[in-house]
Symmetry: C2
Subunit: 451 residues, 2 copies
Amino acid sequence: MSLTNASPSEAAMAARSASHVLATLPASARNDALTAMHAGLVAARDDILAANARDLELARAAAADGRLSQSLVSRLDLGKKGKWDEMLRGILDVRGLDDPVGRVTLRTRLDDGLNLERVTCPIGVLLIIFEARPEVIANIAALAVKSGNAAILKGGKESTESFVAISRAISAALERTRVPNAAIQLVTTRDAIPQLLAQERHIDLVIPRGSNELVRYIKGNTRIPVLGHADGLCSIYLDETADPEKAADVVVDAKTSYPAACNSLETLLVQESALSTVFPRLAAALASKGVELRCDAKSKAAALSAVGDVAGAKVVDAAEADYDTEFLALVLAVKTVADADEAVAHINEHGSHHTDAILTESSELAERFMSAVDSSGVYWNASTRFADGMRYGFGTEVGISTNKIHSRGPVGLEGLMIYKYKLRGAGHVTAVYGEGEGQRRFKHESLPLEQ
Amino acid sequence: MSLTNASPSEAAMAARSASHVLATLPASARNDALTAMHAGLVAARDDILAANARDLELARAAAADGRLSQSLVSRLDLGKKGKWDEMLRGILDVRGLDDPVGRVTLRTRLDDGLNLERVTCPIGVLLIIFEARPEVIANIAALAVKSGNAAILKGGKESTESFVAISRAISAALERTRVPNAAIQLVTTRDAIPQLLAQERHIDLVIPRGSNELVRYIKGNTRIPVLGHADGLCSIYLDETADPEKAADVVVDAKTSYPAACNSLETLLVQESALSTVFPRLAAALASKGVELRCDAKSKAAALSAVGDVAGAKVVDAAEADYDTEFLALVLAVKTVADADEAVAHINEHGSHHTDAILTESSELAERFMSAVDSSGVYWNASTRFADGMRYGFGTEVGISTNKIHSRGPVGLEGLMIYKYKLRGAGHVTAVYGEGEGQRRFKHESLPLEQ
């Protein structure tokens, strides 16, 4: 890793060149680099935590003045229980994943002696823009090296000292490996983001890690593809056949287990015929967890009679805007619908194509819902909060994508890969192939992927 | 298909709604629609060819005045030998392809009764912008229906009458199928392109089919992802160990079999030590096919002494710009390099990441070249002109992509697909999982894809 004061365009060009070297390194060389990074960070522990303490001191002062949020200060703290060890273990976890580079995903004999292969390869150069959390830098550097991608890292100014200390340690460690120095660069230039976002010739993919506002700003200000999501407006549809106990468990988990998460529930759609049967149990369970219910007229009446015994229950009128709002707090919009079709139409129109669920005991209805809802995750009788790379078993995650191309949903190492076609011939030319007399025909024989 | 005078934003919204219906249709309903389209076009043959004749008449007049190129007139002609039958056969070919929708590509048991599936699904709404060739409309409509994507089609004004006649026939045919009318829309509004390119909320992917200028304009004027390529600057590196006969065959095919194609050769990089051994045979073969060689000083000397016997041979000095030029004509830039490393660096810097080849008898060097060159196609001893969906055995092609994400190289039906994650539970919640005592662990058992 180099700590660069180069201009953003110089950094991008250097990353592009380094990516061409990195792409040709064998898995062993990339894994050796991860081993070295891990050892380098272990050795530099005291320096890094001291740097982090300086960042924290400034941030606490800013928080005391109200210039910074308390949650940001908390995300900044590398000394928090388990955080440092988790960061280090993450590097070894990534090292232990299967090599994503060079997998053959298609093999076809076009003709005798002319064989086509589709082989996975790195995308090229990634730009990672993130906010406060300093451990992300080690995590992302590990993912980039493992996947053979060069990466330019640009972090938030609150963690500058931590970033610089971590970079120094990683940079020194990589010096003794075959990974080129410019493959991982930390850009510390002020106001570099707009210039980096203009480097479409040298940067292939932008991955923002931070607030919705950051992601929205980036999506609106670059022609480079952006992997991620600005909004996480997840909905659940409650069908009349739903099991009340399961349904209550799921909505409480989806709404309250981590309200600030992108995969938390924001809108509950209730079938009209379920208002007086299944819904009351959900309304009471949510209210007793302190969730404010913003309801349309019909669901408000049903909710009010259900929460009578709950002290401090909040049931209020919903405004139209509530059905387009990601609350990220203990607030839930509730809307009455006639049936699953109306729910699907509402979700496709108002949702953010992130993760949506149906609660029903009808498998036929569930399958229809899962086909028709146009979201990266469509769930049956399960909490929307399962939308997560670790929970899906991907080992690691670079983010959750609501894009419609390339990668969708939780994105692991696979999302950092593309492929190339390798064609091996013996002087083959195209002009001899055709449908006419005396012309050669292609064989197009599918060959086994393993050889 | 509907022939729409709706505004571009209305057309896009209608396509989005139709896409949600189309995505849930079974393969049989989509294939039935293709059968109906085929029959409808067969029945409307005379009307369509009459409309095409009117387009042709105007185009010929414009060509006579020099307002239109002769090659465009030729591309316009649906009556040309074999073209009509090929268009119709294309629809049945697409119908015969395996269903790309609903393939399970990952299946994991997260826990007892909690199963995750990754299932292929359509991207959503495609915008296809194309120039003169009227048969593209039938081809693209067939691909869209097969892949479950809605499509908005916008054609060049020279073929308006043909497009309208084809649309009418397809539209009438689709009326009797389960494919919604707005799933395939032909927009005939004048100057609709800029407005369509602004519909990023409702359009997921733009596919331009036409000149480099069209593609470049589109890439520069939308935030919607664009699948395609503006440039096709393909190179071949001639190594000193190359077999002279094979090498000459390959470069002649790559340069002369269809010079206007994007996969044709534009730059030949010659190892210095091959200038007096292998290169002379290539230079003579190219010159005798009428290819003008634009050379640096060293290769010029070698070429001049090689083409002495070729009447009218053209060997001239190259300008720097020639190494960045897609000639699309019988012109070839030739440059001397020290070795494969210099060739790779030149290709990665000056090429368009489309298709590049090495001519060598060393398999070790070939593998190194194919790993290091950052292009969608990397070939060993084969002509760059093999870069084509039909030749790769994909059955059909929507274009060749030089993008670094989603789809790269020749793109078939697979490139029109994305996936969604389906999670089926029994009231599962996330809060009970964790590393602590008494918490549940995920199983993450990989299950067979076929069930």
